[in-house]
């Protein structure tokens, strides 16, 4: 990290922690939404950007995180901030089982298999009325100290910063470097003796665990855990965010999450057909901006420096 990066990071933190004193409640909620999606996208990008694994069923672990908090609250009366600690472990456990099968295949096969497993989990949550509440969802109530929007904002922001920092450390660790080697050349990684499947399985579980935290933060915000949190259309969101922001940059998914959450808020205000507009935005991004927004920005800065 350079001096400039550090300054930028400190500035971002000051703005993030100062914002609640300037924003109204409705804007606070959208910003909380953004933080949660940022964590979801960054954790997901450990798979897509770092390890080159395209999972299309990641919403399952996000949803399981939400249901962990909701079920612990409604069945055992465990408060949400305590239940949140269980979310990554439960999500990770499910990912361990699914991943054990899924890492046996690669590429598009892996994408379709994770998609199928994700839908399986979605079906179970939908169908198991007595335990999950089926499509009625499961209500969640925050304790009094978390109810005010501003308090919840600080809570979510802090949890998200801690989690993203851990993901940062993981992706810069030897483990993260090994994942990059697998992405670049799987065959070579096998030849130099990396147990590729174990690395991929670990990445899958870690990414799922942090997605579980994101889901666990989502449930108290909406005061509900819904089956749609596990649905495959939800799985597309972190992929789109990561690709839009730039999968080969660490903070790209954060930029992508900001774009999607705030643009979605703006578009749904004036259009009944937001997906139509979103579809075209994605189409243009994919065709013309393959490196994502942050990736393109880095290229541009590099070319400027190189030119002068």
């Amino acid at each position: 990290m350079t001096q400039g990066h550090r300054l930028g990071l400190i500035l971002a933190l000051v703005i993030a922690y100062g914002a609640p004193f300037l924003l109204n409640d409705s804007n606070l909620f959208i910003t909380i939404d953004f933080f949660i999606m940022a964590l979801f996208a960054v954790s997901y990008n450990l798979l897509l950007g770092r390890a080159g694994m395209l999972s299309f069923g990641h919403a399952a672990y996000y949803g399981i995180g939400a249901y962990t908090v909701a079920i612990l609250f409604s069945k055992l009366a465990i408060p949400v901030h305590v239940g949140l600690f269980a979310a990554p472990f439960v999500a990770g456990l499910f990912a361990l089982v699914v991943g054990w099968f899924a890492v046996r295949v690669t590429g598009m096969y892996f994408a379709m298999l994770t998609l199928a497993f994700g839908q399986l989990l979605h079906t179970i949550v939908m169908g198991w009325y007595s335990f999950t509440g089926g499509d009625d969802g499961l209500p969640v109530t925050s304790p009094d100290w978390l109810l005010p929007a501003r308090n919840y904002y600080f809570f979510v922001l802090s949890v998200v910063i801690i989690c993203i920092s851990i993901i940062w450390l993981i992706s810069k660790s030897p483990f993260g470097v090994a994942l990059g080697a697998i992405r670049e050349n799987r065959q070579r990684a096998i030849f130099v003796g990396l147990s590729v499947r174990n690395f991929e399985l670990s990445a899958f579980v870690i990414a799922a665990a942090f997605s579980g935290v994101a889901g666990g933060l989502r449930a108290p915000m909406q005061q509900m855990a819904f089956p749609s949190l596990l649905h495959w259309s939800q799985s597309a969101e972190p992929i789109l965010m990561a690709l839009a922001g730039g999968i080969h940059t660490f903070f790209g998914p954060v930029v992508g999450a900001a774009l999607f959450v705030f643009a979605n808020f703006a578009i749904t205000r004036f259009s009944d057909y937001p997906l139509l507009i979103f579809g075209f935005i994605i189409l243009i991004l994919v065709v013309y901006l393959p490196g994502g927004i942050l990736g393109a920005a880095q290229e541009w800065i590099k070319s400027k420096r190189g030119g002068s």
Partner: protein, 291 residues
Amino acid sequence: MLDQILIQTLSGVSRGMVLFVVASGLTLIFGTMRIANFAHGSFFMLAAYLTYSITQFVGDKTLGLVAAIVILPILVACFGAAIESLLLRRISTRPHQYQLILTYAITLIVADGIKLIWGRSYHTVDRPAGLDGALTILDMPFPSYQLMLIVVGILIAVSLHLMLTQTRFGKTIRAAVADGEMVGVLGVNVPRLFTGIFALGAGLAGLGGALAAPVGSISLGLDSSIIIESFAVIIIGGVGSVMGALVGALLIGVVQSIGILFAPKIAIAFIFLALCVVLIFRPQGLMGRAS
């Protein structure tokens, strides 16, 4: 109980036949171009809605459906060819996730486009004269249209098989499934071949949509249910194998129909169970070749 299971099996075969028509297109695209084409479900849904409009426009339910079954495969094939040559080809050298996301963007556009044109309410298409009743099999009524679907499905399977084994285009497709690079080296115009395959696949999805329109109701969400099932079919059957798609589709159709008999709420879970079993014992799919 036993005759109930037999009837459900027959109904599952009928369901599986529609699924086969759609999934066979998907497996050809996936097997040659290595694109997990999400838009395939949208092609199917679009064709189902267009079938509704065509039958409304023609006025006669038999003639209308026949017109839809003739026109829509061609129309949807053209739509597919346009998407392939205008969009997918531009990013053909990039990692596959970009192509997948591109086709996903198309599903969003088509879904909201359909909502814009046809509205949120569901539509139904009448069954054609002579096929709107039910036959009695094992003392139980069975819709004759669904019986016709089984016959049509077999015909399509046979013609697809003949096309793949007897025509030059078909042989080139099979060669591209086996070794895509080699086909290019041997002088085949690969971009044109891919456009052709994508159009063929889209056309099959369109045909499936037209055939399925009179069964059940036409509603938003049709795209995601068929695409998930089709993905399951081609994993079970083996990527690139049309016969595998037939086996996989029939398996899924029957498993699901019998599942409805025992556990209606989670019938769809049986698909994934079948998928897991196949993947444990035969990861390359039932008819797929181990790589």
